[in-house]
Assembly symmetry: C2
Homo-oligomer: 202 residues x 2
């Protein structure tokens, strides 16, 4: 019965992902997850024991998906400007495939900041050292203006992630419909990289 088992388990994880990522831990109901997975509520506990454990499974999965994205900035071998262009261009496609994911990770990390320590031990946890060296090297070689790698990294993340996290607010403020907002995001694929590079290039 191996096939069935893995199937149900995955079905649950998938349903849980959708519900948790959209409504957060506190706003999600086990019954809703069960319904979405088309199984009995008991099955959730049979496979994952408790809401907390099911949540953690979903969260870790989400982070494992997000981490490689961040590593494209921190641990990729490409040259600095290419890296910025690539990440910016790639990230939007990633978000379209996983619209709730980045916000989900950020929110639940806000509610439980200690959890980041548990993630850090996992392999592929993004580390800044390499990026830091790269930025410092580019400064020494006179390619970019002096800037702390941490600040540049925060800027890159901010410009790429925030417009999706705050979409409803921003949409309301600049007073555009969803369609036009998506077009704005589409243009950001190249514009954000230019904006960043313009700012730091010597």
């Amino acid at each position: 019965m191996k096939a069935k088992e893995e199937n149900t388990e995955l079905e649950i994880l998938n349903a849980a992902k959708e519900v948790f990522q959209e409504k957060g831990m506190a706003g999600s109901r086990m019954q809703e997850i069960a319904d979405k997975a088309r199984i009995n509520k008991s099955m959730l506990h049979y496979y994952y024991r408790s809401k907390q454990l099911l949540f953690e499974a979903v969260f870790k999965n989400a982070f494992r998906l997000l981490a490689p994205q961040l590593n494209k900035v921190l641990n990729d071998d490409s040259e600095l400007f290419d890296k910025i262009r690539n990440f910016t261009n790639n990230y939007i496609s990633f978000v379209i495939g996983h619209p709730y994911l980045p916000n989900f990770v950020i929110q639940e990390l806000n509610k439980n900041p200690d959890f980041i320590e548990k993630l850090r031990v996992e392999k592929d946890f993004p580390r800044i050292e390499k990026f830091k060296a790269q930025v410092e090297d580019a400064i020494t070689r006179g390619i970019i203006k002096p800037i702390r790698a941490e600040q540049l990294f925060i800027n890159i993340m901010s410009l790429n992630i925030f417009p999706f996290i705050a979409a409803p607010l921003l949409q309301g403020l600049i007073n555009v419909e969803e369609k036009e907002y998506r077009e704005l995001m589409e243009r950001r694929k190249t514009e954000v990289a230019d904006f960043i590079i313009n700012s730091i290039r010597l």
Copy 2:
């Protein structure tokens, strides 16, 4: 009994603010709000009828506090570069006084995007028109490179707001303690403005 009445009502609103902003609508408990306000749970319903209405009171209050901040970018009379510098410098002080507020507004707007329409009718709802004209004027006069006002606005918001919303994640990624992260934020008061202006200045 006027004084007592207003007192209790405010006490409740204040306690509700703390709880709702930290835990969100779904994660908050009426009992916890009552405890924090040092009153009986019945009083919450006496003054605000339901959790939903109490929440909406808190939310509208929060937005009324946030709106003037955004208007410093959108509807202030100062010159573009000054405006960017002022906002950036000001915003961090605002966030220190209201650490959970921006994220609270953004999150609840995410869970209920239609709510923005109800806010738009309120006076002082931030509007982009003036800022748009100002940016277009600066482009025409050859002061800044061509850029859509919407994109510039999104960039300003992103660079200022995101580092606080995603603090635990970013702190973990760049691997610094809270204290050092606060110092990074402190430096951003001037650095972010420079970063933006560098990018758009001709």
